[in-house]
C-alpha cells in the first residue's frame, strides 16, 4: 500500500469537508480490494476526522472490507425474486463446492464468495455475478462451470472462433489516410499503426485491427495506467475526441471506420474502454 497514493485519492475527492469520505473509501477499496488499517489512519489524520467515526463508517457499509479479498469476486444474488426461484440452494451449493462461507476467501486467495441483496435483474433470477460479469438463470448444475470459468479468467475469449470479434479498417479522421499497416500483422490481420507520445518520448504503436482484441505492439514500453497522446503518422494531427472514457475518465482516441462509423479507444494504457458508433459521432 502506497501512502502517496492514498494522499492523492484524498486530494482528488476533497470537497472541503467530510462529505467525500465514502467515495474516498470506495476508491481505495476498489484499488486494494480492502481498506488497509494504515490507509484509514492516514485519512483520519489528513481530514482531521475521528478515527472512531471513520472505523464506524468502514464497518457499517457492506461494500467495504477490512480484510483483503481474493482475486475474483463471486456474488450470489439473494433478492426476493431470486430466492423464490431457488436462490438459496444455489448459494449453499457455492459454499459447499468452494468450501468457504459467505464473506470468506478460498485459502489460495483466488476467490471471495459473497451475497448481494438484489442486483436488480430479477426477471433473470437466480443471478450470479463474477467480476462484473452476469450469469443468469443459474441452475445447480452450472455452479461447477461458473467456478471453473472464474478460475480460468472470465475475460478470456478465443479470438479465432468468437463470432463477436471482427476486423475493422480504419483511417485518420482528419486526413482520411488509411492507418492500416500491411507489413506488420497482429492476430493474423494487418495492424493499425499510430504514433504515440508520453514523457517527451515519441514512438510507434501498433494495435490489433480485431474489434474485441486488445493486443498491442509498441516501440517504447508504456507504464500501466499512463495516459498517452495519439497522433496520425501521416498528417501528425492529434487524435483526440471530446468524449472521455466511461471506465477511467481518460480522453478517447477516434479512428474513422472505412465502411461507415467511428471507433474510439481509451488513451490510458491497460484500460479496455472502447466505443463503436455506426452513425457517426455528435451533430
Amino acid at each position: 500500500m502506497n501512502p502517496e497514493h492514498i494522499l492523492k485519492v484524498i486530494e482528488d475527492h476533497r470537497e472541503g469537508d467530510q462529505t467525500g469520505i465514502i467515495s474516498i473509501l470506495e476508491e481505495i477499496q476498489a484499488k486494494y480490494s480492502y481498506l488497509p488499517e494504515e490507509a484509514l489512519r492516514i485519512i483520519a489524520q489528513k481530514l482531521r476526522c475521528s478515527l472512531v467515526d471513520l472505523y464506524g463508517v468502514a464497518t457499517f457499509y457492506k461494500a467495504f472490507s477490512l480484510k483483503p479479498r481474493g482475486k475474483h469476486l463471486i456474488s450470489v444474488c439473494l433478492g426476493t425474486a431470486c430466492h423464490v426461484r431457488g436462490g438459496e440452494m444455489i448459494a449453499s451449493e457455492f459454499q459447499r463446492q468452494l468450501g468457504i462461507k459467505f464473506g470468506g476467501t478460498t485459502p489460495d486467495n483466488e476467490i471471495t464468495l459473497e451475497t448481494v441483496n438484489c442486483l436488480g435483474a430479477c426477471a433473470l433470477g437466480p443471478i450470479v455475478v463474477v467480476d462484473g460479469h452476469y450469469f443468469s438463470n443459474v441452475t445447480l448444475q452450472r455452479v461447477k462451470e461458473i467456478i471453473h470459468k472464474t478460475q480460468a479468467g472470465i475475460d478470456r475469449v478465443d479470438i479465432r472462433s468468437d463470432e463477436r470479434i471482427f476486423p475493422v479498417e480504419v483511417s485518420c479522421p482528419r486526413c482520411n489516410h488509411s492507418l492500416m499497416d500491411k507489413n506488420k500483422y497482429i492476430d493474423g490481420y494487418p495492424s493499425i499503426r499510430v504514433t504515440v507520445s508520453f514523457n517527451l518520448k515519441h514512438g510507434w504503436l501498433r494495435l490489433s485491427c480485431l474489434y474485441g482484441s486488445f493486443s498491442v505492439d509498441h516501440e517504447y514500453e508504456v507504464p500501466l495506467d499512463e495516459v498517452v497522446n495519439f497522433f496520425c503518422p501521416y498528417c501528425h494531427a492529434e487524435l483526440r475526441s471530446s468524449s472521455i472514457c466511461a471506465d477511467c475518465g481518460a480522453p478517447m482516441v477516434p479512428l474513422l471506420v472505412r465502411t461507415g462509423g467511428m471507433v474510439q479507444i481509451c488513451s490510458r494504457r491497460g484500460c479496455k474502454g472502447h466505443m463503436l458508433d455506426l452513425t457517426g459521432v455528435n451533430v
Binding site: T19, G79, C82, E93, G125, L278
Partner: protein, 616 residues
C-alpha cells in the same frame, strides 16, 4: 459540444435535431440494460455492428442501443421501428438473418412471439398481451432514447419542458402545477409531491437548499428505478432542474446504490453532457438560474433509503436514522433544507410540466393519479417491468399482463412493498393498486416490487427470508428494532425447523405491533409487516408447520424429505449428481434416497428428466 446560452438557441438546436433526414429508414433497437446485457444483448450488438459494417449497410439501417423496455423475460429482444416488429429471445446465430431481413423490409415469421393462448405468432409489439394493457408513459421513452446521447434525448423533446418552464413560468406556478397533478411520491409512502415542494419553497432559514434524488432502490425484487436511470437518465436530470427552479434549491444530489454499476456509468455520462451543453451549471439558458447536480454512491446499506439515514450517508457518516422533527425539509444535509424524492417521481416531472397537470391527472384515479411502474417477478409467466394506471385491479396485472402462473400452478399471493410490505392473498386480487387500499389490507404500495407466489412458495419461509433481511440491514441503534427483528427471526427459524409451538404465534402477534409503534424509523416500524401479514392470511400454513411438523409447499428443509417415485427409469443421473452419495440403485431400476445421508440440496430434483424426485 457548444454551450446553449439562451432559450432561442435551445429551440433552434431542438429544431435542427428533429428534422429527420431519412424518416423511412428502419431502426434496429436493442435493449441493453443490465437485464439485457445479462441475457446476451451485447453479443447481438456486436454481431449487428459487424454485419452492418461488412455488408455496408450503415447508411441503410440505423442502430439504437437503449435501456430496459420491460419485457425482461423475453430478452435479449429486438424491436424494429417504424414497423413495430418485435423479435423475442433472439439467438445470436440468427442475427445475420435478421439484419438481412430488415434490409429487405421483410419479417421473419419463424422468429416472432407466439401467443401462448392462441398459438399464433404476433408481429407487432403493441399487439402482444403483455404490452397491450400497459400505459407506458415512462417506459415507452426508454425505447426511443439512447441513454448516452443527449442529442437523442433532445430530439425526442427532451429538456423542452425544462427550457419553457425556466423561461416563461414563475417558480410558484411550477409548484401549483405539480400540486394540481396530484402526483404522489413513488418511493413508497405516497406523500403528495406538490405539498413537499411547497414546504421546501417556503423555507427561509439556511443558505443553500438541497434537492436529492433517492436512487437507493434497496427493496429486493424491485428494479424500476434502475431501468429509468439506465435507460433515460436525462429525464431525471430534467425533472430535478425543474424542481430546483420551483423550490429555490441550488444544489442537487443523486444518491445511487453501489450495486447498479451501469446506472452509475450512464448517469455520469449524462451529467457531463448536460454540463457541457450548458443545461446544468451557472446561468442556465441565460435565465440567471444556476443549479448543479452531483452524484453520490451508496455503499451497500438498505437503511440508507430512509430519508434521515440517506442524509447521514451523504454527509459521510454511518447511516443511522434519527427522530423527526426536525424534518429533512427543515433541517437536512449539513443542516440545510433538503427535499428528497424518488427516481420515478422525478421522471414524472417533465411529463407534468410538458403536457400539463390536467392531462397527467386523466390517468389513474382522483386520489392516485398517473401511472406506476411495477416489477412483476417471481412465479409468473411474463416477468418484467409493467407500467399501469393507478387504481387498476391486481388481478389484471397478474393475469392479463403477467400471463398467469407458470407450470399450471395456482397463484397463492403477491408480495408488495418489499421487506416493508406484506402479502395480498389471491382472494383479494380484486383490490385496486392504490396507496390507501393496499395499506388497509396490511401491506403497502412500496416502491413497486410485486412478487408473485404459487403453491411452491412457503409463506413461513418467505416471512423468515424478509425478517432475516431486515435483521441484517437494521442499523441497530434502537433496541426494539434490533432485538425485535432478531427475536422474530429466531421464532420463525424454530417454526420452519419443526420446533415451533402455538405460543410462538401468540408471541409474534404480541411483539409485532409493539415493534411497529416503538421503533425509531420506518425500517423498524414496517419490519413486522411480512410476518404479521402472512400470519393474518395464511395462518394455516404456520399451524401445519407447528402441529404436523410439515411444510405444505415443500420448502422448509428440515421438514421435507426427498424421495424417488415410480416415474423413475433408473437412468442414474441423480446418482451422479448427488454429492452426499445418498442415492443408490441399479441401472434401469428404481433408485432410492437414503434420508440419513441426504443434505437436501435439491440437485437430484433439478437433473431428473422424469419428475421422479419429489419432496414430502
Amino acid at each position: 459540444m457548444e454551450k446553449v446560452k439562451s432559450l432561442d438557441e435551445f429551440l433552434s438546436l431542438h429544431d435542427r435535431l428533429t428534422v429527420d433526414k431519412n424518416p423511412s429508414l428502419p431502426t434496429l433497437i436493442i435493449p441493453a440494460g443490465t437485464c439485457g446485457q445479462a441475457s446476451g444483448a451485447n453479443d447481438l450488438i456486436r454481431i449487428t455492428k459487424r454485419e452492418l459494417l461488412n455488408k455496408k449497410l450503415t447508411e441503410k439501417i440505423k442502430l439504437r442501443i437503449t435501456g430496459c423496455h420491460g419485457f425482461c423475460e423475453m430478452e435479449p429482444s429486438i424491436l424494429i421501428e417504424p414497423w413495430g416488429v418485435y423479435y423475442p429471445k433472439v439467438d445470436p446465430k440468427k442475427m445475420v438473418d435478421i439484419v438481412e431481413s430488415v434490409a429487405k423490409g421483410e419479417v421473419l415469421q419463424n422468429l416472432l412471439f407466439i401467443d401462448p393462448t392462441t398459438g399464433n405468432p404476433i408481429e407487432k409489439q403493441v399487439d402482444i398481451p403483455f404490452f397491450k394493457k400497459q400505459v407506458r408513459t415512462l417506459l415507452s421513452r426508454n425505447e426511443k432514447v439512447d441513454p448516452i446521447r443527449i442529442y437523442n434525448y433532445i430530439e425526442n423533446n427532451g429538456y423542452l419542458a425544462m427550457a419553457k418552464t425556466l423561461s416563461s413560468s414563475h417558480p410558484r406556478q411550477v409548484i401549483e402545477e405539480v400540486k394540481a397533478s396530484g402526483l404522489r411520491g413513488r418511493g413508497g409512502a405516497g406523500f403528495p409531491t406538490g405539498l413537499k415542494w411547497e414546504r421546501l419553497a417556503n423555507q427561509t432559514n439556511g443558505n443553500g437548499k438541497f434537492i436529492v434524488c433517492n436512487a437507493d432502490e434497496g427493496d429486493p425484487g424491485a428494479y424500476m428505478d434502475r431501468s429509468l436511470l439506465e435507460g433515460n437518465p436525462h429525464s431525471i436530470i430534467e425533472g430535478m432542474i425543474i424542481g430546483a427552479y420551483g423550490t429555490g434549491a441550488t444544489r442537487g444530489i443523486i444518491y445511487v446504490r453501489n450495486e447498479y454499476p451501469l446506472a452509475i456509468k450512464h448517469l455520469l455520462i449524462a451529467l457531463r453532457q448536460a454540463n457541457q451543453l450548458g443545461l446544468l451549471g451557472e446561468n442556465i439558458l441565460g435565465t440567471g438560474f444556476s443549479f448543479d447536480i452531483k452524484m453520490v454512491r451508496g455503499a451497500g446499506a438498505f437503511v440508507c433509503g430512509e430519508e434521515t439515514a440517506l442524509i447521514k450517508s451523504i454527509e459521510g457518516r454511518m447511516g443511522e436514522p434519527r427522530q423527526r422533527p426536525p424534518f429533512p425539509v427543515e433541517k437536512g444535509i449539513q443542516g440545510q433544507p433538503t427535499l428528497i424524492n424518488n427516481v420515478e417521481t422525478w421522471a414524472n416531472i417533465p411529463i407534468i410540466m410538458g403536457s400539463g397537470a390536467q392531462e397527467f391527472a386523466k390517468v389513474g384515479t382522483t386520489e392516485n393519479t398517473g401511472t406506476k411502474i411495477f416489477s412483476l417477478v417471481g412465479r409468473i409467466k411474463n416477468t418484467g417491468l409493467v407500467e399501469v394506471p393507478m387504481g387498476i385491479p391486481i388481478e389484471e396485472i397478474v393475469n392479463q399482463i403477467g400471463g398467469g402462473p407458470i407450470h399450471q400452478m395456482k397463484i397463492k399471493a403477491v408480495q408488495t412493498g418489499g421487506p416493508s410490505g406484506g402479502c395480498i392473498p389471491a382472494e383479494m386480487f380484486h383490490l385496486p393498486v392504490d396507496y390507501e387500499r393496499l395499506t388497509k389490507a396490511g401491506s403497502i404500495m412500496g416502491s413497486g416490487g410485486m412478487i408473485v407466489m404459487d403453491e411452491h412458495t412457503c409463506m413461513v419461509d418467505l416471512a423468515k427470508y424478509f425478517t432475516k433481511f431486515l435483521k441484517e440491514e437494521s442499523c441497530g441503534k434502537c433496541f426494539i428494532c434490533r432485538k425485535g427483528t432478531q427475536r422474530m427471526y429466531e421464532i420463525l427459524d424454530d417454526i420452519s425447523a419443526g420446533r415451533g409451538t402455538l405460543e410462538h404465534l401468540d408471541l409474534i402477534e404480541e411483539l409485532g405491533p409493539i415493534i411497529k409503534y416503538a421503533s425509531l424509523c420506518g425500517l423498524g416500524q414496517t419490519s413486522p409487516n411480512p410476518v404479521l401479514s402472512t400470519l393474518r392470511y395464511f395462518r394455516e400454513e404456520y399451524v401445519e408447520h407447528i402441529e404436523k411438523k410439515r411444510c405444505p409447499a415443500g420448502v422448509c428443509k428440515d421438514l421435507i424429505t426427498y424421495t424417488i417415485n415410480e416415474n423413475c427409469t433408473g437412468c442414474g443421473l441423480c446418482l451422479k449428481s448427488c454429492s452426499a452419495e445418498a442415492i443408490r440403485g441399479e441401472k434401469k431400476e428404481r433408485h432410492a434416497i437414503d434420508p440419513k445421508r441426504c443434505i437436501k440440496c435439491g440437485a437430484c430434483q433439478s437433473v431428473c428428466k422424469f419428475s421422479a424426485v419429489e419432496t414430502r
